[in-house]
């Protein structure tokens, strides 16, 4: 079983990269392979905005294809949409998702709808890269994880890699995709290291992956939450509980089959999401299970998400705001006691 897990994560590859180096490699290789790819956004030249993800790009590809911009999210994102309509493949970066809200018009009204509203005449091949940058007492406007907002909109795809392998693979696929893809990463993951093959490869959009096979309970997670779920699973193993950890990788489209098959096997479901609870990803996953394999559930579904509350500043509040592995362990124990 473990070999199957490892294969998905790029086993037999001893080359380790950090998550942000993997993003950097995806950008580097795609810009090298395709002259229509360019990166645009505020702070792309600055190491503190985008970590090391853009390291070396400017030197390799020049200021025209690595375009640092004034603070004008609406115009810059709209310009990326327009460039995509004119045949380019832009990657527009928002170093904090919070500021990306200024660009809701070009993302939702324009990019997401364009192909449909012109009857399939012209698509918008672009990546909208939004970085979740939270914690450290940054408070409400420097913390938000808005993947569900974008997943709600027809015409957008949304991916959230958890590992360096998928950070590279999903960014490559997002750039190759003929539609607008919202690529959401998390600064908390930038230092995570893992196997990443040197060659150019893609992780298919819309496919999840089982990170740990188990039979007692399905823990559905994504992005940073996958690591919390893995950590919880290690605790639970010691109590002879055998959880299955499912990493969604794509928030939209969701890998419904993978979710269904897992829940059919385990009969129990805990969903962990780094976004808010109401009308969010956790509710969507729960609804899919409710609609498509309700009869297999042995217990009610548990959702662990952010409370419906803005992100607080003080560390004492932050500690209870973000989900912890202990909460997942506690939830799983509770479900197993119930049945």
């Amino acid at each position: 079983m473990m070999s199957q897990v490892a294969r998905e994560m790029g086993d037999r590859c001893e080359r380790l990269l950090t998550y942000c180096e993997a993003i950097n490699e995806a950008l580097f290789q795609m810009m090298d392979a395709d002259p229509s790819v360019f990166v645009i956004g505020q702070g792309i030249r600055s190491p503190w905005y985008v970590g090391n993800t853009a390291k070396g790009l400017l030197e390799a590809f020049g200021p025209k294809r690595v375009l640092d911009t004034p603070v004008s999210e609406n115009c810059v994102t709209g310009a990326a949409v327009g460039a995509a309509l004119a045949g380019m493949k832009p990657v527009v970066v928002h170093p904090r998702m919070d500021f990306m809200l200024y660009a809701l018009d070009p993302i939702i009204n324009q990019a997401a709808n364009w192909y449909y509203m012109n009857g399939g005449r012209l698509s918008v091949p672009m990546v909208i890269w939004g970085i979740i940058n939270r914690g450290g007492e940054q408070a409400a406007q420097h913390s938000q994880a808005l993947h569900s907002v974008f997943a709600h909109t027809p015409g957008l795809k949304v991916v959230m890699p958890a590992t360096p392998f998928d950070a590279k693979g999903l960014l490559v696929e997002a750039i190759r995709d003929p539609d607008p893809v919202v690529f959401v990463d998390d600064r908390w993951l930038y230092g995570v290291s893992g196997p990443v093959p040197q060659e150019l490869y893609g992780t298919p959009i819309g496919t999840g992956v089982i990170r740990r096979y188990g039979s007692d309970v399905t823990i559905v997670a994504s992005s940073y939450m996958t690591h919390l779920a893995n950590e919880a699973a290690r605790h639970l193993e010691r109590e002879n509980i055998d959880p299955e950890v499912l990493d969604l990788r794509s928030v939209k489209p969701l890998d419904r089959k993978l979710i269904r098959e897992s829940v059919k096997k385990t009969g129990r479901l805990v969903i962990v999401d780094g976004g808010w609870k109401t009308c969010g990803l956790s509710g969507e996953v729960a609804a899919i299970v409710g609609e498509e394999c309700f009869g297999y559930l042995k217990t009610p579904i548990v959702r662990l998400a952010l409370p419906d509350c803005p992100a607080p500043a003080s560390a004492s509040l932050e500690a209870s705001y973000y989900p912890q592995p202990e909460a997942i362990v506690h939830a799983v124990r509770g479900l197993l006691k119930e049945s």
């Binding site: 004008s72 810059v76 709209g78 327009g82 460039a83 004119a86 045949g87 509203m117």
Partner: protein, 333 residues
């Protein structure tokens, strides 16, 4: 009086014919809208024809244009097919957007019309991006973005002017100032009725011209397009113009009705300066053509438009089973 003699007759007749096509097309929609045969909201371009025509006359097929909610005229002036336009307005599969877009979402990529959309100022940044694409590829294409005076209330316009100027992008910003932002007069929207001045803050050459004088638009448009094509950066044109019909649909200004928002004297003053009539009279007075010849052009255009309606009405509606088609371009998505 327009100085028609300074231009060649082919150009002048071509301007006349395109303005007439737009006018006939717009006016042909009035009855079907009123009868309910056309249900899609139409923002008619009647009265503003000289702006689209005078500018687009200088564009190549590979130049880009972005439009607004009121873009039937831009679509046609850039070379879009009138049959596809009318079919789209009737909601048919044969429309330019296969019945998914309607009047406010027109597109003709085959002639560089990359799309129109009704979010006010929403396409301005898209046009800047198309110009950025041309700049990255070292092409000499020009991008024109049309927008109304209402767009000057949106922040993204100023972000876009700044960005285009900063990167010397070949984009021509054309503000069609028709004095009303839907119902609201310009003087209630801005402290200064001169819009062209906003471009000065971003070091963009700007001009304020009579948008009812097709030759004024044609001449300024020529210089502006050449300036952009030469890689000198963006240009801003404010064209003073007037829509004869309502903000949406034909009937805002039926006197005495609740949507009657504009003074009758104002309407009459603008009607007296009609751009098509102005060119027609100037051509005849200068002895460059005969009224009969111009009537023949009008009649030719009218039958084109009539044929477009007949074709559209006999074309199929989109298949309801295909409602989710075109959400994504990726196969299997």
């Amino acid at each position: 009086m327009m100085a028609v003699q300074q231009h060649n007759i082919e150009d002048l007749l071509s301007l006349f014919k395109m303005m007439t096509l737009i006018r006939e097309c717009e006016e042909s929609l009035v009855d079907p809208i009123l009868s309910g045969e056309i249900r899609c909201p139409c923002h008619l371009y009647t009265g503003q024809e000289a702006v689209a025509v005078g500018i687009c006359a200088h564009l190549r097929h590979d130049d880009y244009v972005f439009g607004t909610h009121r873009s039937h005229g831009h679509f046609l002036a850039k070379g879009g097919d009138v049959k596809k336009l009318i079919a789209e307005i009737y909601g048919r599969q044969t429309g330019c957007s296969r019945g998914r877009g309607g009047s406010m979402h027109l597109i003709a990529p085959e002639v560089g019309f990359l799309g129109s959309a009704p979010i006010v100022a929403g396409t301005v940044s898209l046009g800047v991006g198309a110009a950025l694409a041309a700049s990255l590829r070292c092409e000499d294409r020009v991008t024109v973005v049309f927008f109304g005076d209402g767009a000057c209330g949106e922040g993204v316009l100023y972000e876009s002017l700044n960005f285009a100027s900063l990167h010397k992008l070949s984009v021509l910003f054309v503000c069609e100032n028709n004095l009303y932002s839907t119902h609201m007069p310009l003087r209630e929207c801005r402290p200064d009725d001169n819009i062209s001045r906003v471009a000065e803050a971003f070091c963009i050459p700007s001009y304020r011209i009579d948008g009812q004088d097709v030759l004024a638009v044609f001449e300024t448009g020529k210089n502006a397009v050449e300036f952009c094509r030469g890689g000198n950066g963006p240009v801003f044109l404010e064209c003073l113009t007037y829509r004869y019909r309502g903000h949406v649909g034909p009937d805002d200004n039926i006197q005495g009705c609740h949507t009657d928002i504009r003074p009758q004297a104002e309407i009459q003053a603008w009607l007296a300066r009609d751009p098509i009539m102005g060119l027609e009279n100037a051509l005849i007075d200068a002895g460059m053509t005969s009224r009969e010849h111009l009537e023949a052009i009008k009649s030719e255009v009218r039958s084109l438009v009539r044929e477009a309606h007949e074709r559209a009405k006999s074309s199929p509606y989109p298949d309801p089973d295909a409602i989710e088609r075109y959400v994504f371009a990726a196969p299997g998505a």
